[in-house]
Symmetry: C2
Subunit: 369 residues, 2 copies
């Protein structure tokens, strides 16, 4: 059982470490990406590996998204349970247990799943027949990230044909992820890298269509490449997710590049020790803020630089106003990577005008299985 | 609601990614540290920031530990609720909400808390009087880690005196953490670094005793320094925690140095894609295995090296038997840092002879508040 603060609680009275989301900013981010998509004639299917909650999925769908992406069955389950009716699972679902669970989701929502090999197509087809449910299937194309995905060209055409011929499966199209480009700082280089990947993806779709199949969906895009990939005419939908809270890593990548997004998510901490002038200790450690994209920034006070995180401590070099902080004082951190930070918490504390409006459960967190 | 596999399930049938603990090995590790402590006349108070569950705490107490350490109030709460009656909170508890909760725990268990400043002593004393509960207090001494802690010498003596004089507080002694030494590979250098820290801690205790106060507890030690710090006569108790599951980072640090511990914890994953010869993709990503101490190893098959982790993917370079792995095959990973890996999961799947014996809730996970 968790004891939660009541709506109306002042943000500074929320105990720490806590994920605090500014609802006005998050809603503005949602609106901004929806507007971009509408203006550029591309659909938006935001990735829920960031938000991990039906709350954010439904807000984005209400603002115009056609559905959402999920990274795994466990996420898809909580989204379907929460009322989301259009879900693209962007990874391969391969074990028999997970495939059965995928059909559990597919009985509640329109589900499309990514495949990259023939055995998986056979297993999904068998499941579709067993459950009597038509399952959408999209090919993941290896387009430069050197991760999963079927090779474009003949291999992709053959796999698409296998899906097309498989009882119970509906061939929906292709997807890729230009993940090798999303963190490139120089815009021209980022654009070139992204286009190299997207061109491979589009060519794979062309090959499949040349073989007589309809490619309804060409899905790609991360927050770092939304305004590159989203302007490619053949791309039908964008998968970006991080723009919802806008990671500081992406803000750094964008630099002077114009964009409408602001950071909506911070981690609130408490100063726990002031052992020496110039050194201040606070309570978010590695178990509250991820560091896989770098150390967090401090946003609520001038003059603090995070020097290291151990499990439950964050050591800051402090000067000026920050060096005046005393144990008990609240302090706000900006994580470089929201997704892996969020994944360590159970709740979002959503505030408006500095007051708690609602606590949102991170229902998809920990749903590995 | 979570759906959990039943006892008797074969380990390979547990869905992934999942934390799998080999109970025989974990119990042998528990016994080995308890024996070391008994043979060296030092008490053992294992840190629960690793185990995060009363299950492991009670097992260690049953094997001879005098109690456990907790990193925060949320952990102490679940330990007390689970029946642990002797808890040392190794950090400063400073906000009024957390102090009130600390007394909630202190009404169920004998609680000692670390302090490093006078205001905190005053606040704790006020709480102790308000709740009518005597609270144990231990000074955290800054002995080389440059984190929190009161400076040894006059400052420590004055703070000890303040505790001694504060109504409702019981001065228990001093603690330190030679965290700067625990990962040093060369044993002689590790010993020197550890002893430099421990000598500072012991000197601080000497100063306090010279001022007429009794120092009942001198607490220190991590798994990396257990057989150094644990042999110092003045040290009364060891705080080591990681030996329970034995991190591979510590195995690397120990190298040829003799010790009785083995890795009890692995992360079970599933191969999800085999896009090319030499490259194999599995499902534990950054959200299932932490990388703050380095990339995980692969232990269930020869010839696999983890090259990178993204959020839900792990990319392996594979050759030989590992390159034969196909989607759906199970594979076991050895995290470099158990604590931060565990913190992302909700359950331990505890196996004996390859069969699920019990599922243990990670009750302390996510208990920031």
């Amino acid at each position: 059982m968790d004891y939660l603060p009541l709506p109306g609680t002042h943000v500074e009275d929320i105990d720490t470490p806590a994920i605090v989301v500014d609802l006005d900013i998050a809603e503005a981010n949602i609106k901004a990406m929806a507007s971009f998509a509408a203006e550029n004639g591309v659909s938006l299917r935001p990735h829920m590996k960031s938000g991990k909650s039906p709350f954010w999925a439904l807000k984005q769908i209400e603002a115009g998204a056609i559905g959402v992406c999920a990274a795994k069955v466990g996420e898809a389950e909580i989204l379907a349970e929460g009322g989301v009716r259009e879900i693209l699972v962007t990874n391969q679902i391969v074990s028999s247990t997970k495939i059965r669970r995928l059909f559990g989701v597919a009985s509640q929502a329109n589900v499309t799943v990514a495949v990259d090999n023939h055995d998986n197509v056979d297993d999904l087809s068998m499941g579709a027949q067993m459950f009597g449910i038509e399952l959408g299937v999209i090919l993941e194309i290896e387009c430069g990230m050197n991760r999963a995905g079927v090779k474009p060209g003949e291999a992709a055409v053959a796999l698409a044909r296998a899906v097309e011929n498989a009882p119970g499966l509906r061939f929906d199209g292709v997807m890729g992820y230009e993940g090798n480009a999303v963190y490139t700082q120089d815009f021209d280089l980022r654009k070139q890298q992204a286009m190299d990947s997207v061109n491979i993806l589009v060519a794979a779709a062309d090959d499949i269509e040349a073989d007589g199949m309809e490619v309804k969906i060409i899905s790609a895009g991360g927050t770092g490449t939304y305004d590159i990939t989203g302007k490619v005419e053949r791309v039908t939908e964008l998968q970006c997710g991080s723009y919802l809270f806008m990671d500081s890593k992406y803000l750094e990548v964008f630099g002077d590049h114009p964009h409408p997004f602001r950071s909506a998510l911070t981690v609130q901490g408490t100063v726990t020790s002031k052992p020496a002038s110039g050194r201040t200790i606070a309570d978010p450690g590695l178990k509250a803020i991820s560091t896989d994209q770098g150390l967090p920034g401090v946003v609520s006070v001038e003059g603090a630089i995070v020097r290291s995180l151990s499990e439950e401590h964050c050591v800051m070099e402090t000067q000026g106003p920050a060096d005046e902080l005393q144990p008990g004082d609240k302090i706000s951190f900006l994580p470089t990577h929201s997704d892996t930070t969020i994944n360590q918490h159970d709740y979002y504390y959503c505030v408006r005008n500095g007051m708690l409006e609602t606590v949102v459960e991170l229902a998809g967190r920990g749903r590995f299985m």
